[in-house]
């Protein structure tokens, strides 16, 4: 029987844990014990499997059958049907955009087929708490290879030739950065991993840290060897306690195995890694601010130059790379620069990990080759926009990025093409927006974020963004004047030109890019006092259609402010003076009688 070789993988990524993974695991283990299978079937908690909206996900190997939305109840079926009787539980099968995924066809499915997993190669496959599983998937072989067969120069040459560019947002060539840091003369050097992941709608780095922490440690150690460093820091945001826990455990194991510490693998190279925890400041993702924070200071940016490669932590040359950038290093060392450079486009090599979210059917973590079109990403992998709504725009790059309108769906995803459209590759947040999204409100949302997060060191960023936000508030509340749109453009340009760090220099992007593509929507707010997407509260009203209302009283009962009047079986009415536009009534009306109108 196949029983003896079964392994059950259960996703313990952030979304699946939130969806009840722990209780599923508990019941699963109880059931296995009940049938005395606990000795032969292994249960392994993995990192994010990438289909977070369908979690918790459970996969049975070696068959490779994936189950979705598993709960403490139906998990019993997996044991009783699949494990005991060898029968796949049809109704729980994982469903991708093109239907259910059954045995074997897994690899053929567009959701998987269009993805190329390099940085996320181990996610959802290994137990992140167990170093042996990482080793079984070629883990630490790259470190062994570099320490025993390569000179630091050769390592740098390989990274340069691979064409890898920074995945933290700016896309600076990684090999070149390593070389610059190596060439800075000093008796002490540091390696820093930027795991601050500030984009407020993205969780790629978190998934890698939680699902495959050793890959980051291995790559940092390789980097340490290449630049001539002795010590590394991973700077993780405080909001990621699980990532911190798994990293701590990984560091401990790596030390025990001799992959970290004195005289690694018997060579004369010594290197160790420590964790530093952030404290909730977006600007600390900026490299100089981050280093100030590691030193225990206020996390404000410094003027560059000097760059970290020359003067970083405590004044010593410091190499700083993003989590995903590091995660690409071990495969590059093992498979070679040419292999990596064969994937992607002319200027953007390899893959990019995206956190797909918003108004898209399949949300989660995806890794795609550079050059894939947005259409393939959103439709073939993402399954398109749910509820028959129309795609309006795609936001990349978070608060530093921009919105790409639906007309540009055939744009390839690479650093240059996205930049040309006024957006950026960013760190990998990708938010899909449908027709119900108001682009002026989106701009306001991001501006509110930058106003909250500006460190206050320079005036254009601190005061300018506030002024822009005020104007946007004016426009969305129906008080906008025609010259406001021009003022936004002017102010935006001033902030870009005169801010000290990347936060200020990119803060106006969400406004400028929406102005570029959705100016008519701004104008509708200003001139006609209409919010076409019916989002801006001051410009909309909730109304009940007397022809459709049957007087069921459902709306009146949920209205938190008693704005709805009407007796049973009589037509109801909303008082716009009292109504707070909370939207609850629309959701409960089963007769579709309530709608939003603007103005």
């Amino acid at each position: 029987m196949a029983v003896s070789t079964n392994t059950i993988l259960i996703c313990a990524g952030g979304a699946c844990i939130s969806a009840g993974e722990k209780s599923v695991k508990q019941v699963l283990e109880e059931k296995l014990r009940e049938y005395a299978l606990d000795g032969v079937v292994r249960v392994v908690e993995t990192g994010c499997m990438g289909a977070c909206d369908l979690g918790p996900i459970v996969a049975v190997f070696p068959e490779g059958v994936y189950y979705q939305k598993v709960n403490a109840e139906n998990v019993k079926k997996i044991v009783e049907e699949h494990i005991l009787k060898g029968r796949v539980v049809e109704e729980m099968l994982f469903e991708g955009p093109q239907g259910k995924i059954t045995e074997e066809v897994h690899e053929e499915h567009p959701f998987f087929k269009k993805q190329v997993k390099i940085a996320t190669r181990n996610l959802g496959i290994i137990d992140p708490m167990n170093i042996d599983e990482y080793i079984a998937r070629d883990g630490y072989f790259a470190l062994i290879k570099t320490l025993t067969q390569m000179s630091p120069e050769e390592v740098i040459e390989t990274v340069k030739k691979s064409g890898l560019r920074g995945r933290g947002g700016a896309g600076f060539p990684t090999g070149l950065k390593w070389e610059l840091t190596r060439k800075s003369p000093a008796d002490k050097k540091f390696v820093v991993c930027n795991a601050d992941e500030g984009d407020p709608g993205a969780f790629m780095d978190r998934s890698i840290l939680e699902g495959d922490p050793h890959t980051v440690l291995e790559a940092m150690t390789i980097a340490g060897y290449a630049i001539g460093g002795q010590k590394g820091y991973v700077y993780v945001r405080a909001e990621y306690p699980l990532a911190i826990e798994r990293l701590r455990n990984a560091i401990k194991q790596a030390r025990e195995y001799g992959f970290l510490g004195e005289n690694i693998l018997g060579t004369d190279f010594s290197f160790d890694i420590e964790i530093r925890i952030g404290a909730g400041a977006f600007v600390c993702g900026e490299e100089t601010a981050l280093m100030n924070s590691i030193e225990g200071k206020r996390g404000q940016p410094n003027v560059k130059p000097p760059y970290p490669a020359q003067k970083g932590l405590w004044g010593y040359p410091t190499l700083i790379n993003n989590v995903e950038t590091f995660a690409n290093i071990p495969p590059i060392i093992i498979k070679g620069a040419d292999w990596f450079a064969s994937i992607g486009t002319e200027t953007s090599k390899g893959t990019k990990v995206f956190a797909l979210a918003g108004k898209v059917k399949n949300t989660g973590i995806v890794e795609v080759p550079m050059g894939i079109t947005l259409r393939e990403l959103i439709y073939d992998i993402g399954g398109g926009v749910p509820n028959g709504k129309k795609l309006k725009a795609i936001q990349t790059g978070g608060p530093s990025g921009g919105c790409i309108p639906a007309e540009y769906l055939d744009t390839p995803v690479d650093y240059e093409s996205l930049k040309k459209l006024g957006a950026i590759m960013g760190s990998g947040g990708m938010i899909v927006m449908d027709e119900d999204t108001c682009m002026v409100d989106v701009a306001k949302f991001f501006l509110q974020f930058t106003v909250d997060e500006s460190c206050g060191k320079c005036v254009p960023c601190r005061e300018g963004t506030k002024r822009m936000l005020e104007i946007l508030e004016k426009i969305t509340s129906g008080e906008g004047e025609e010259e406001d749109i021009e003022k936004l453009e002017e102010l935006g340009q001033t902030i870009i030109d005169s801010s000290l760090c990347g936060l200020g220099q990119t803060a106006p992007n969400p406004v400028l890019s929406t102005l570029k593509y959705f100016k008519d929507e701004y104008e509708a707010h200003v001139k006609e006092k209409i919010c076409p997407a019916k989002v801006c509260k001051s410009l909309i009203r909730y109304v009940i259609d007397p022809d459709k209302c049957v007087g069921c009283t459902a709306c009146a009962r949920v209205c938190p402010v008693n704005a709805i009047s009407g007796e049973v079986r009589k037509i109801h009415n909303i008082d716009p003076e009292i109504c707070t536009r909370c939207g609850s009534c629309i959701e409960v009306c089963r007769f579709g009688a309530i709608s939003k109108v603007s103005p």
């Binding site: 977070c52 407020p200 993205a202 530093r276 225990g296 949300t363 707070t580």
Partner: protein
């Protein structure tokens, strides 16, 4: 000052001392020490900041500067149950602002406010890493609510008032 701190506080200070010793903390470990202190005391009142400054041998002004810079640190006590409404992009696109409004209304507090009975405080946070379940709300460290609609808010609050 020493005498006025009650017994319970003394225990907390002792634990903080232990932590500082364990990690051989100096000035550069200030943020870690503050994390620990906030975990122990719930917030970071001036006395605690002064204590840490003395322990790490750095000026109080530096400690204060760091505490006020990072949004994670608070000098005000928070509610027994901290309600964290995600205001990240994915949640925003799925209507998180309406959720926040409803919480404000039901609790009668503004963002970062504490209810009179001290039971709840309300906070807007950025991406909880579960964007697939947007909009999401987290209460305390462990209770997680996904795909929340505004009219579920009263029910959620009631889970903690009983």
């Amino acid at each position: 000052m020493e005498k006025s701190i009650c017994e319970q506080h003394e225990k907390l200070y002792a634990e903080l001392d232990k932590f500082i010793e364990e990690i051989h903390a100096d000035g550069s470990a200030l943020i870690e020490v503050l994390h620990k202190a906030q975990q122990l005391f719930g917030h970071l009142p001036v006395e605690v900041q002064e204590y840490i400054a003395e322990k790490l041998n750095i000026p109080v002004s530096k400690v204060f500067g760091v505490v006020t810079f990072y949004s994670f640190f608070t000098m005000k006590p928070r509610g027994k149950h901290q309600i964290k409404v995600c205001l990240g992009t994915a949640c925003y696109v799925k209507g998180a602002d309406r959720l926040m409004d409803r919480f404000k209304e039901e609790l009668g507090v503004e963002e970062d406010g504490v209810t009179k009975d001290g039971l709840f405080s309300l906070h807007g946070v950025r991406c909880l890493g579960a964007c697939s379940m947007a909009p999401v709300v987290m209460i305390g460290e462990n209770d997680f609510y996904g795909r929340v609609t505004p009219d579920e808010v009263p029910k959620i609050i009631r889970n903690y008032t009983k």
